[in-house]
């Protein structure tokens, strides 16, 4: 009885045996050609949207759109814009035959939190592409993270010039329009409606988007003869703007331009209306309020106050083209109400990414980037669109909208005043408002 099987002996043998078996697998992981190369039958996308903070409404709608896009890519539901999209390589069997799965995260509309969330998607969940965001500060931060990590970033709602201007990155792509385009589209309509000798007072959200929008609108309106009385920055986290509205009354400004978005805009516009700005007459003219970047979600938040207010938007659900109608129909069927512009851009971005992968025949970020650069497409709700290779910005028509005087439903809040043709909002890649950055070269990571 000398050769007894002891507990200690068994553990030892097991440990040595296990280590021996494991040894050959240690060095097998260097074979990946790029970060998070999908293996197996699925591919994971990361949806990084604000679920708390001033842009939470937009974030919730973005998430709905992403889930819808995943459904359509996997061949469930009615296919939505896949049927109207000019490129026909997507077959509803996932992406390159791999079933699409997704992970979600909360950006909290803070750069730090957004990057932490995106990092965990890349490092832990193996996401091959990150998309989302409803703030340009976050978009810029996450875009540079994706560049470093070697994954593609498909920007969600981000309107700052910097995203595809001085902070542009080779791995980042933006479908949404930008502040310069808003200015170029909105200014002629403003001049036509309110005249060319106006004095404007700006309230601006104090971050990259606010700064570039203010710059763009000031440049566009001053070119028409308007005068800028003063520009005041307000913190993004502000919820009460009364203390910023009172000083407006003490100037001779006759137009208030609110460079605010989401919850900020709802609150500042409400404050402005409460202070009776809209009934005021200055310099013999009616006092007017302009919100350069408008969305239906904001219009609903601000209620009565948006009536007659001019602004611009990327897309609106009432558009009558085939693509928009297909999207509104499948979104409405699933959720019971029409999508917002944030939902639209996120949905389109997901489809564009999937399409680029399918056309490139690879998930490699460099191949995908090449497929997206200079890509011309149609049937996604904005008419013929170009993904410009020089700065990864989409060029398409811009809508100028006005708050409806007599809405027929709680969703019918905006009316399209003018569709500004793409030619009027196009600019050179080295335009001064976009200068100072470089795409660099694409980074496949690993």
């Amino acid at each position: 009885m000398t050769n007894k099987l002891t507990r200690r002996g068994l553990l030892k043998t097991g440990a040595v045996g296990g280590a021996g078996l494991a040894l050959p697998t240690i060095f097998t992981t260097g074979a990946h050609a790029f970060t998070n190369e999908p293996s197996g039958g699925t591919v994971t996308l990361g949806f990084n949207v604000p679920q708390s903070g001033p842009y939470a409404d937009e974030g919730a709608d973005e998430l709905r759109a992403y889930m819808l896009a995943v459904e359509h890519l996997n061949g469930e539901g009615d296919g939505g814009m896949l049927n109207t999209f000019s490129s026909k390589v997507l077959e509803g069997n996932g992406i390159l035959g791999k079933k699409v799965e997704y992970v979600t995260g909360d950006t909290q509309t803070k750069s730090d939190a957004a990057r932490a969330s995106a990092k965990s998607m890349i490092e832990k969940d193996g996401a091959i592409m990150i998309t989302g965001g409803s703030s340009s500060g976050v978009a810029v931060a996450v875009q540079s993270l994706c560049q470093e990590a070697g994954v593609i970033f498909m920007a969600g709602l981000t309107h700052s010039n910097d995203t595809t201007g001085k902070d542009k990155k080779a791995n980042g792509f933006r479908h949404f329009f930008n502040a310069y385009m808003s200015g170029a589209a909105l200014a002629p309509v403003l001049a036509k409606t309110y005249g060319t000798d106006r004095k404007a007072y700006h309230l601006t959200a104090d971050y990259t988007w606010g700064w570039t929008q203010e710059e763009s609108i000031v440049a566009a309106t001053e070119a028409l003869g308007w005068e800028t009385v003063q520009t005041v920055k307000t913190p993004l986290s502000a919820t009460d703007f009364s203390s910023y509205i009172t000083p407006v009354l003490q100037t001779d400004a006759d137009v208030l331009i609110l460079n605010h978005y989401g919850g900020n805009m709802v609150n500042s516009l409400t404050n402005a209306v409460q202070f009776g700005l809209r009934e005021k007459v200055v310099n013999g003219k009616n006092f007017e309020i302009v919100v350069p970047l408008f969305s239906r979600l904001m219009a609903r938040g601000a209620g009565e106050n948006v009536k007659g207010i001019l602004g611009s938007t990327n897309w609106h659900w009432s558009l009558q083209d085939e693509g928009s109608q297909a999207f509104v129909k499948s979104f409405g069927t699933k959720y019971g109400f029409p999508p917002s512009q944030a939902a639209h851009t996120c949905y389109v971005q997901t489809l564009l990414y999937a399409d680029a992968v399918a056309r490139a025949g690879s998930f490699n970020p460099c191949a995908v980037g090449e497929a997206l650069e200079g890509f011309e497409f149609d049937g996604m709700g904005n008419g013929p669109t170009l993904y410009r290779a020089e700065d990864h910005q989409c060029f398409k028509d811009v809508l100028v909208v006005r708050g409806k005087e007599n809405p027929t439903s709680e969703f019918d809040l905006l009316e399209v005043v003018e569709v500004t043709p793409v030619g009027q909002v196009t600019y050179a890649p080295d335009h001064p408002m976009f200068a100072g950055g470089a795409l660099g070269s694409c980074n496949p990571g690993a």
């Binding site: 679920q51 992970v103 969330s117 931060a141 993270l145």
Partner: protein, 400 residues
């Protein structure tokens, strides 16, 4: 060993083992199992564990020893981050100068704020530090935009000079942070059966610094200086009456604690070269207070545990969404499933603060000494030794 008694040496050893084997310990579930959701062993989160561990250990040197509750410690973390990123922009991508500068700047900043704030004690001291931190936040967020890049956060660009390093790599990218060539972000992956373990350079560097920070903290706790700080906590007035000027001691503790925060900030920037103003916000200052109290204020290991606990909740629970919940309970009848998911979804995802709040309440109510006290109670319950030996140097005066 190293001038520590046996007990402290054991504690340091335990922390060292935890740090070294964290990639294994934090990844108990196979990568493709349903429970993989709860794995925390990926580089970003492990880095956060140790970095916030350092931050909390430093905070505990002030709060745990002197009883001075600073509500503005995040300001030093933020200042450290900004210093480090500027170093990456101007000098080189090596993390050593960046970390050194972040500690120096945070220390100087702490000297200034401490000199003013320490004129008062108790709640007035807390309010003063809170005010200073909030001022720093506002400055970074808006006024000092040329230095801090405002809300967007300070980032590296392809045009930075980096006089001792390279402005851009050969293939046109921004160079990555490194320790004499060892890239902070690079990770070795070990596949063992169904498990995936990730060993990240940045994590191990931060981990080594945590051990150093922890060792220094033990030495301070056991030194005459530490004794003096504890005396300040128990009765400052009596010390003053005996003719002792306590201010140099408290100021020194404040500065050391600020430098710990600066180190944490510099490390954060070294792992991910970006510095945002929200790192200085009062919520970030509150977080380190929570970490310390949750883990056990005045104990050595408590703050590290608290930091890990909170970061785990923030990163793991916040990612459990409705779809995940449905997949857990899909075996149940539909009505019941929806009811359970409806209740639970308020506690996970964006509702993780609620869960954390409840746990914090429970801990403070039933375990005023924090997680460490919980551990001690368990130890007494199951320990072989009689609890006579349990009288430790840790003490559990509840937070004021």
């Amino acid at each position: 060993m190293l001038g520590l008694n046996k007990k402290d040496a054991t504690l340091l050893g335990v922390v060292a083992v935890l740090v070294i084997f964290a990639p294994f310990i934090l990844n108990p579930f196979p990568a493709d199992s349903a429970m993989a959701q709860f794995n925390a062993g990926y580089p970003d989160l492990m880095q956060r564990f140790v970095i916030f561990g350092i931050f909390a250990v430093g905070f505990n040197l002030l709060f745990g020893l002197t009883g001075y509750l600073s509500f503005g410690h995040a300001a030093f973390l933020g200042v450290g981050s900004y210093s480090a990123v500027w170093m990456f922009k101007l000098l080189s991508m090596n993390v050593i100068p960046a970390i050194l500068l972040s500690m120096v700047i945070a220390g100087l900043f702490a000297l200034l704020i401490g000199f003013i704030s320490l004129r008062r004690t108790g709640i007035y001291f807390s309010i003063l530090t809170l005010a200073f931190a909030e001022m720093s936040f506002r400055l970074a967020y808006s006024v000092l935009t040329p230095i801090t890049n405002g809300e967007t956060g300070l980032q590296l660009t392809l045009e930075d000079p980096r006089i001792l390093g390279q402005t851009a790599t050969e293939n046109g990218g921004i160079p990555v942070t490194n320790l004499f060539g060892l890239e902070m972000r690079s990770t070795e992956v070990l596949n063992l059966g169904g498990w995936t373990f990730q060993f990240n350079n940045g994590y191990y560097m931060a981990g080594a610094l945590l051990l150093v920070a922890f060792y220094i903290s033990i030495r301070i706790f056991r030194s005459p200086f530490g004794m003096m700080l504890r005396a300040v906590k128990s009765n400052q007035q009596r010390m003053n009456y005996t003719g002792l000027n306590t201010k140099p001691y408290t100021l020194a503790a404040f500065v050391i604690s600020g430098m710990y925060a600066g180190l944490a900030g510099g490390l954060m920037a070294s792992m991910d070269p970006l510095a945002g103003a929200e790192r200085m916000q009062w919520t970030a200052s509150g977080e380190v207070v929570l970490m310390t109290i949750l883990g056990g204020a005045g104990t050595l290991i408590g703050p590290v545990l608290g930091a890990g606990f909170i970061k785990y909740f923030e990163n793991i629970f916040s990612k459990i969404n409705e779809a995940v919940l449905h997949s857990w309970f899909h075996a149940l009848p539909d009505g019941l499933e929806n009811a359970i998911v409806w209740v639970l979804e308020h506690f996970v995802g964006s509702g993780w603060h609620l869960t954390l709040g409840l746990l914090f309440m429970l801990v403070v109510t039933f375990l005023p000494g924090g997680l460490v006290e919980g551990g001690q109670r368990l130890g007494r319950l199951f320990g072989r030794k009689k609890d006579a030996e349990e009288k430790t140097a840790t003490q559990s005066t509840p937070a004021e």
